[in-house]
Each structure stands twice: as structure tokens, then as C-alpha cells.
Amino acid sequence: MLRYVIKRLIGIIPILFFVSIFIFLFVHLIPGDPARLVAGQDATLQDVEVVRQELGLNQPIHIQYFNFISGIFQGDVGSSIKTGRPVFDEIASRFMPTFWLTFWSMIWAVMVGLLIGVISATKRNKWQDYLGMFGAVSGISMPSFWMGLLLIQVFAVQLGWLPVGGLESWQSYILPSITLGSGVAAVVARFSRSSLMDILKDDYIRTGRAKGLNEHKVVWGHGLKNAMIPVVTMTGLQFGFLLGGSIVIETVFSWPGLGRLLIDSVAFRDYPVIQAEMLLFALEFILINLIVDLIYGFLNPQIRYD
């Protein structure tokens, strides 16, 4: 098991290397000129050239890539073109708010989604099922900016219970994580419902009942662990996705996270920040995949690590 994890972790290095090439090319293909943006609109062509030289953007692209990579190996991912601060600091200060927002959103979304999914599956075609699936369809189809604005309007503006935006205290997490998690909860609910419904037809479920177990033990004890296997993959993907920071939600709630950092830096053609951030997303996805695989093994003993 430990050997497997180490092997997978070593395997990350070549993957990231290839990913970095794509990211680098992709970022430099964004139309626009950062030198022009730094120098300002009324700078002369010469000024722009000077800035370009300072930023190292006049060098051939493969040299720029080489500088970028060797920087990474020296633990230096460069500085932001826009603010001049080290890219590492820029990202680090934005990572935690996004991480915790994602984390809390996922926690409630998975719990609520599972609960709805299990209830819907066990009360198939009864009112609980219809209610649950109505909620799930609404959760999936409601645009998050609209839901966010609605929540702000009611709970922040009118009732004044919660902050309108920004990140000041734990209360600041409530509205954004409801908004962010509702889509996930809906997907988890639908996924776990259909997965559990299939599982409940399996022979070992009948065995459980034939033993005299009550429905609660049959469903939560014997059904759910099996039904979780596909749900975990989906949840992992969602988690990786949200860790990139939701641009819409961070904008609506003025959240100081990675999503807003990304649009800001794209708007400014802040190459080093964009590159580092995209590389971070790739790394997050790879790590979450690894964690998903490990949970898989925990859920399904037929999977062996070697």
C-alpha cells in the first residue's frame, strides 16, 4: 500500500512535466501583451520594449519555458507581473479561502446529497422520492450566480443575519458554501439514488434480509458501502473541480480565492501567476485522483494495490 502510494507520487513528476508544457504554450497563446499592460496605455513603444526586456518576454519561447521550469526546480516560481510580489505568496494567500470554502461545501453537500439519495432510493416513487429528486433537479438547474444573489438579498440584505461578502469570520462561509455545495449535493443525491437502487436488487441484500436484519442495517450497512463506489469517483472529480475556485461564486461573494485571482491575472496577462495556478490545479487533480483510488480500495476489497 505504502509502496503503491510512493509509486503513484513519483509518477506525478512526468505527468506534471508534460502538463507544464501545455500550460505554458496555452498561456502564451492568450492574445494580448503584458508588457503593454504594465507600461500603461500611453507609454511609448520603447518603454514597452524596456518592460518586455525586464520581464524576460523578449526571449524565444523555449528559453522562457526553460527559465520557468528551472525556476520551479529552484523553488522559485517567479513574481507577479502585476504586483511584483512572489507568485508563491500570491497563490498561498488565495489558496486557503478557496480550499476551506470548497471543503465545507463538499462536506455538507455530500452528507445531504447522500441522505437524499438514500431516502429517495428506499422510498422509491413515494412522495419522499419525488421531493428529493425535485430538490436535486432544482439544485442542478439553478444558476449559481442567481442563487448566490438570491441568498445575499434575503439573508444579508433583508434579514441582515449574514455578511454580504468577503471573508471576515466563519459566518462569511455560510452563504457561499450553500451556493457552491447545492449543485454538488444535487449530483450526489441523484448518483447515490441510482447507484443504491441498483445495489438493493443484489442478492446479498436479500441475504441480509433473510438473516433478519432490519431495513436500516440492510440499506446503510450492506447497501451503502457498495453504492458509494461510483459516488466517490464523482465526488472526487467535483472536489478537484471546485478547488480551482469558482469564478462565478467568488465574484458574487467577493471571495478572496483562486478563482478571482485567475480572472484577474488573465485580464492582466500575468503569465507567471496563470502558469503557477494552472499547474497547481493539475497537481490538485492528480492528488485527488490518488486519494479517490485509495478510498476505492478501502470500499472494494477486490481492488489490490500492486
Binding site: T207, G212, Q302
Partner: protein, 330 residues
Amino acid sequence: MTEKMLEITNLKTYFHGDDGVVKAVDGVTITVNKGETVGVVGESGCGKSVTSLSVMRLLHDTPGEIVDGSITFEGKSLLDLSEKEMRMIRGNEIAMIFQEPMTSLNPVYKIGKQLEEVIKLHLHYDKKEARNHAVNMLKLVGLPRAEDVVNEYPHQLSGGMRQRVMIAMAMACNPKLLIADEPTTALDVTIQAQILDLMRKLRDESERSIMLITHDLGVVAEMCDRVVVMYAGEVVEEADVLSIFENPKHPYTKGLLGSVPKLGQDLEKLDSIPGNVPTPANMPKGCKFAPRCEFAMDVCWKKDPSLLATNGNHTCRCWLYQDQEKILEV
């Protein structure tokens, strides 16, 4: 006076499908006395499994429903018990072994946990006692390395071993009635013989009643005291095992016996019954076996015969053995 353990009377279990009602079990009456092994035989789809699931009231998550009849176990009417009372009986007083050993164990839990679960539930043993009992049960059913097997997962065991685990699980709380639904069908021939030996041993050691479902008459001959022959959701013949083999009455039973290969017989000459079990959509109006019966008379197409005693305890559902006057009436 023989004591009755299980009495199924006029049981009707119907499935409500998209295209109408499937009368999987349509008026079945079976009695299992104390200490007796009753074989239930019949072709695939005749309602054997549905009958046994009805006794256990295990039709959850199926469109099936018991619409009529009664099931009495030790004088208690099972159909009148609450779900909670029924749970005290399942796995405890009536246990069941299923047709599908490969899929009847939960793939994500260890064997020990799955066995201990039923032991703790009904015998109220603590963890250690339950583990001991589980290991002993596995030894009883002849599993080698019982101490290791409790820590293994189902996929690490072969089909025969899994069926032994299922038997151990069924026997764990020393049930008064064991329902074995084709316990050997899914297994290799050699393993089949071993499992049957085991079941015979377990039967001989106690006064247990067994309802043994099978479509293998060889198994019946080896194991059973009495035989119930089912066809298309009905009982067509019932007798003690000797009478069935020596003096079968119903043309269907004769056909079944004809299709058992005997030693020295050429396999190609095997008498299989021509035709198929009628589908629910074109269920014959009269006797359900008439379309396949070489003795079918006019009356057979018009009216379903009733199950009547021919002599003593030998009953048969066939116009050939019913009163001539009744036939004339039709």
C-alpha cells in the same frame, strides 16, 4: 400424529409487471412436517423460488405480492406477523440458502463479519463468543482453514466454499426449518456431491425440517422423504419419495422422471418433455400442462383439474385420475 412445522395453504403470489399480472405462484399447498425433508421440484420458472421467498416474506424490492393463502409456521400465521416479528424468525427459526452462492455474500465485508452479524442478532453473543461460534460453524460445514476464512473476503473463496459459508450462516442459529433453494445448482458436479453430503449430515444430526428446492430428481431421491412437483405455479403431484419414483401419476412427473438419465442409457435417447412452460400471456384455459401432454383429452383443454388424492397421501392434479362423472359434467 406427525407435527406440522410449515403449512403453506393455497398460496398465491403475483407479480405486477408492465404487461399485466404474472401469477408466479397460483394456489400452492405444501406441508413440511417436523424432522421431514420435503423436495419441491419443477422446471425453471415454475415458481419454486417465489414460493420459498413468500414463506420468508422476502419479496422486498420486487413487484411481487402475496395476494391470497396462508402460511403457518409452528402454529403461527406468518402472513399476519408484523415485519418486526417476522425479522425475529428470519435467520433464526427459518433460515434460507440461496440459489446463487457467488453473489449471495456481500463483496465488501469479511466472511467473519457477515456470519457474526446473524449470530449477534439472534443469539445475542458478544464479539468474542460470536467469533468463536462463527469459526465453529465454518468447521462444521467442513471449510478448511476456518480461522483464516473469517478474515477473508468472498472473492477469495470458490463457489463451493461460498455455498458452505452460506450454509454455515443459515445453520448458525440452529433454525427449525431450513429452506434450501437449489443449493447445488450453480456448483460443479463434485462440489455438488460434497454439499449434498454436508446437508445430509446436518439433517441427520438433528430433527430439523428441510424444504429442499431443486430441479434435480437425483438430489430428491437422495435427500427427501416427500416430494412436491410444481408446474406453472401450481402443485401437480405430491407423494412420498418412493411412490413418486415407482409410481408417478401425473404425465408431467412421468416426463420429468423420463428425462433423468439412467446409468447405461444413451444420452441421445433422453426423454425430454417436448414444448415449453406456458408464458403468463398465453396460459391455457384448462390444465396448464395440456399443450405438452401426450394424454390430453377434450376436458383437459376446458377446465383445470383439481388436486385430488389418488390413494392415501398421493395426490395428483390430472383429469386421468378424476371421477368420470365430473368429467362428463364439464
